[in-house]
């Protein structure tokens, strides 16, 4: 059959190259690429046959491809691709975010060719992570994402961008190194016949529970830093605050999702017994991240930094939902990843626009912007309300399911995340009170409402937030077309 997934990757690759070469008109090429990519994802959705269940104890994938890559007998690496509901949902997210980001940064004047090229490259890496079904291939894309992001932060970023870029690169690289050790040990200690997901999946149970636990921990660390988990999160605020808007959008919208996806696909599914052993650790970390992210956000004066910390809180909930380790929890986790992808992207775009409209992101020094910039204010409102988990907006169904699952597993511990919901609401509402409402303050004469392309870019996301908030079931049915549906729970 036609290798559609390779075609998708090829599209982005070619698009990237062309964008790099096309100088001034780069944005058009990038836009075209994003549309083609969108179309391909739509095609994937249309012809997605649903989940084929297990064969020989190994989960099946759609649109599978596999070609020999490195065969040394002891080292059997293949180029293996495939998707199920989980990857598909995240592909949809990627497509939406890519389009929105390209449109939003339409006005980029600083080396546009490189800018748009790197944007596409980042998305390429993420797509690769979502469709790769081979340990090496997965890790390859996983690492490949770092490089373009490094340049995006370092070249287009804010005043401390150099420091932030290097910190981001080194910090996350160290994490992926630990993860790589875990993956290699997983392959070789379980005597898997190849690096393919299937053979690893089949071989893993042969490992002793203790080994599984250690492997799970090492993988968890690798994926966790991407989440990020407290206390290994400090790369995130710097990276976000210094990164250019488009960079933050992809960083929060996609890169953080890699961690969640990896944890589910490569750790939870493959090492359920090890997972069971270390589950308490995950709970503790998750609670810490939820509480810490939210409480620290409350103290931030910089809008962007606040949103960054709220990401820690939300990804903490994702982690909690995963840690619950039930079918329901995993469903919630993926749903929430999608939701957070959309919402945080919207919020980062908003703070970017705030920055170049009012010349500062300091919440306390700008006020009453609503009359002057109604559209921007509306976007901020939608973003904030969605992010604090308001029903009818995308985050709610996800958080609701997540907490429902948590109650099922942890009973009254759920009060902690529930209580934190109030704090989360507090800092968003407080921010809106100070920035959007009240008498006008600190608004330069030059300030005018958003340019059209930014409005469209954010509009796409806002629309997504509302549509999927009213009809989350579109996503749910897709996500459950995966091993999640029958995950026995640990």
């Amino acid at each position: 059959m036609f290798p559609i997934l390779s075609a998708v990757l090829a599209t982005l690759l070619v698009g990237t190259v062309l964008t790099f070469l096309s100088g001034k008109s780069a944005r058009w090429v990038a836009l075209a690429t994003s549309f083609v990519f969108l179309a391909e994802v739509a095609y994937l959705l249309l012809q997605f046959p649903g989940w084929a269940g297990f064969a020989g104890g190994v989960p099946q994938f759609a649109d599978g491809e596999s070609y020999a890559w490195i065969h040394l007998g002891w080292l059997q690496v293949n180029y293996t691709l495939g998707i199920d509901g989980i990857s598909l949902v995240l592909l949809v997210l990627t497509a939406i975010l890519q389009l929105a980001t390209v449109v939003y940064s339409w006005g980029e004047t600083k080396k546009p060719a490189a800018w748009f090229g790197l944007l596409l490259l980042t998305c390429l890496g993420c797509v690769g992570v979502f469709v790769a079904l081979d340990v090496l291939l997965f890790f390859l894309f996983w690492e490949a994402v770092l490089v373009p992001m490094f340049f995006i932060i370092g070249y287009w970023g804010g005043p401390r961008r150099r420091y932030a870029a290097i910190k981001f690169f080194v910090y996350t690289h160290v994490a992926s190194i630990v993860m790589l050790v875990g993956l290699l040990a997983l392959v070789f200690y379980s005597h898997a016949t190849s690096f393919d997901y299937a053979s690893v999946y089949a071989a893993a149970p042969s490992l002793s529970v203790v080994t599984q636990a250690f492997l799970f921990l090492s993988l968890f660390f690798g994926f966790g830093v991407k989440f990020p988990i407290v206390p290994f999160h400090t790369w995130l605020p710097d990276a976000h605050v210094e990164a250019p808007t488009g960079g933050s959008v992809l960083l929060a919208g996609l890169l953080l999702k890699l961690g969640g996806y990896g944890l589910i696909r490569w750790a939870v599914f493959v090492l359920p017994n090890g997972f069971h052993e270390v589950q308490p650790v995950l709970f503790v970390v998750a609670f810490a991240s939820i509480a810490w992210g939210s409480v620290v956000s409350l103290a931030q004066r910089d809008l962007k930094r606040m949103v960054a910390f709220s990401s820690i809180n939300h990804m903490g909930i994702v982690l909690l939902a995963i840690a619950v380790g039930s079918s329901l929890g995993l469903l919630a986790a993926v749903l929430l990843m999608f939701a957070h992808g959309i919402v945080s992207a919207l919020l980062f775009m908003s703070s970017g626009s705030v920055h170049h409209t009012f010349g500062t992101r300091d919440i306390a020094s700008v006020g009453g912007i609503t009359p002057r910039t109604p559209v921007l204010a509306t976007m901020i409102m939608i973003g904030s309300l969605a992010s604090l988990g308001l029903p009818w907006l995308i985050s709610f169904p996800a958080e609701f399911t997540a907490l429902l699952a948590t109650w099922d597993r942890l009973a009254y511990w759920v009060l902690l995340p529930l209580g934190i919901l109030v704090v989360t609401a507090a800092f968003y509402i407080w921010m809106m009170q100070r920035m959007l409402f009240g008498p006008e303050k600190g608004i330069p004469e030059s300030a005018h409402d958003l340019p059209a392309y930014e409005t469209v870019g954010m509009g796409i996301l806002a629309a997504a937030a509302i549509v999927f908030g009213v009809l989350p079931f579109l996503l749910v049915n897709l996500i459950t077309a995966s091993p999640i549906r029958v995950f026995p729970g640990v």
Partner: protein, 665 residues
Amino acid sequence: MDAFLLLDQWAFLIPLLMVVSFALVGLFGTRLRALEWGGWAAVGIGGIAMVLGVGIAIGEMLHPGTYVNAQYTWLHLAGTPGPFPEGISLVAGTLVDPLSALMLLVVTVVGFLVLLYSIGYMHHDRGLPRYYAELSLFLAAMTGLVLSNNLLEFFLFWELVGVCSYFLIGFYYEKPSAASAAKEAFLVTRIGDVLFLLGIFIYFFHFATTGPSGGWAANGFVFAHGTSPFLPTGSVGSSTLLTIAGLMILGGAAGKSAQFPLHVWLPDAMEGPTTVSALIHAATMVAAGVYLLAVTSVFIGFTATDQLAIVAVGGFTTFFAATMAVVHPDIKRVIAYSTISQLGYMVMAVGAGFAMVGLFHLFTHAFFKALLFLAAGSVIHALGTQDLFKMGGLRKPMRVTGTAFAIGGLALAGIPPFAGFWSKDDILGSMYGELGSHPLYWPFWILALLAVFLTAYYIFRAWFLAFGGNGPRDPTLPPAHEGSWVMQVPLVILSGMAVFGGLLIFVPGFQGLLLYGAGASGIPPVYGPTDLALSGISVTLGAAGIGVAYWLWGNGRIFVLPESSPLQPVRRLLLNRYYLKAAYDWVGARAVYGIARGADFVDRYVIDGTVHGFERAFGAASDRLRRGQTGVVSDYAAYVIAGLLGVFVLLLLVAPYLLAHLGGT
């Protein structure tokens, strides 16, 4: 006849219509040349909605106790391993039953009247389209909430009304006080919502497999099945878990219905336009909490402990809020406190198991409280101030308003035959019946009784201050005048309801409505001697209250509490709202924010500091080593020799040791 039941199938049109209105006004409102047009559109659609609502209510009256459940499945997850073996399905649907019919009547009627009134009240405001859009959205959400046929859907609308209230309170967002009031309202109710969520969780899991056809989860957690509650009545028993669930529900209700201790937001919510206060913060949204309790008690049920807790909260709030109303100088806030207090009555009734009695008071209260607010609204509209002590002698220039306010006051004070009398007495009477079996209800019942006196006192204190005497006390005020007809018509209609609304209980259909469900006892015309005695007492208390008010404030008198009076500290305590607001502000602004700042510091300098520590450590090591590169060749040669010796140590000592003790490879 059955045309009405047919109508029930189309109940979902009501929220839908209001959504349309929302979209219409929201998107094109600003395009319309005369902003009022947007308003009129909303009023028109609201009218249609009202007709539908009234129709449905009538239908329910003609066929008391029927359920009409219209739903379609949104999502069905086949049985997953874990908590929901039968699978989950989520449904969207409408349920028309006595409860919702009554609520629907209130919401649509008051809603329409307020929409109409606003045309006049808001005409000068440039934010008119936004106003009507938000109001329409609110009505959509509120009717949706009323018609919800399952707990999840209920919660969705529950939150939506909250947001609308948030935006409407902050309607004059450029006013800092309004912005902060909106924030406060959102956050305080949010606390309730969170508890509510937990309650939902507990119910979902506990009853996942209870009930017919595959259990509750498989049927979308709907309230009703056929013509009876889905969950078999009495399935609650007295389990601790469900007790906690019930308390969580109470928490949610307390947040929305501004019950102690989550009441602080409602008085401040008066920053919104008076119309909003009338509709949302008197008649409908704040009543949603009571409605939630009623629905829960009917379809799920409370344990005895829950009931006691609910009664306690309600009864205490009734009195507690009334005391604060006694001293307040702001006309709107007085009414706001009275709202809290009246909601307390309803909560108490529902808690004691008289859902319909509570809703009956909700019904009457909605009208006379809306009336009071709208009346106050026209006063504010005319004078531009809310301070009672500046007003005075308004009864002459504003006859309609003055009368309306008086009628509302009488109804509130529970003077027969005005509406309030019937419902409030009903509550006190039916509660009294329970006192025997539940002695613990006594104190709260007594508090509620005392509140009757306070109620009558403060509302007429307000009336005398505003309308009594001759001429305003503050000469700078503009000359008062009546509002346009759009403002007067609603006042008249509502006055009508405030006068006769209570008498509806003698109408068989309506009675049938009220007779439905638990707590059928004690509803007129089942008047026994005790009831009469009780009525006597409460009426006397009410009259006394009015009398005292006249004695202190009548004919333009101003009663000033002497500085020496032992009551001064009490007065201060009341004026400062028992310092609860201050306490909350302290917790919010000092404690929580302080913790946050501390956490931020730790994050920057301890956690991130550690990262930098690693950086520095490596740097230091690098420096040390680099100093070894002296550039002197004999040093390098020395290193080589040292290395040679090191290799010998490795080969002859270290490696053998490791091999011997660690077993090597």
